[in-house]
Symmetry: C2
Amino acid sequence: MTVDAHQATLRAILGRIGDKWSVVVICRLSDGPRRFNELKRLTDGITQRMLSATLRHLERDGLATRTVHPTVPPSVEYALTDAGHSLHEVLAQLVRWTESHVDGIQRSQETYDTAARR
Amino acid sequence: MTVDAHQATLRAILGRIGDKWSVVVICRLSDGPRRFNELKRLTDGITQRMLSATLRHLERDGLATRTVHPTVPPSVEYALTDAGHSLHEVLAQLVRWTESHVDGIQRSQETYDTAARR
């Protein structure tokens, strides 16, 4: 596998996934379109500002769309694009991997830290 | 999918993947054990300090092992554990996804930025 080729973009995407709320928001959108306030309510602990920034990044990367419905007041709806859905499939595997390894990782960390204190 | 359950650990792991050199180092170790200096030479742009920190994190998480061979001078060899190899399989898919979407993402970013300047 070549990781050098698109390393900068790869690291930028991985960095965004890790640092921000993208994984959670992509998962929340995986079942279908959501309004901003729904997403906010469904995503425990996220601030309005962080949710806006995350959605803007996803839109800029072509992973989500933003649709303004001309209701009164206007409602704004977000949805995954095809690329967003395909990323969700890969991320879901990473989430499942993590969930099935979290206990082992925690045990390993405890063992490592105990040995390091000796 | 529940992302809330192990969210802290999940985000810690995803954060480590994104922020540091873990993905690259895991890929470098996926073909078999490597000595520190080999890894350093194979990993363009990584500093000795960052490589040490990355390997220490992988060892602490139980994803890589560190073996000291009693040669003169001692040689230190790193290898992926079974958990490390299974993470590599998932990461390889994320890398492949990114490689096949990098052009689309860059085009989308250009379109978005052009529209934003209007």
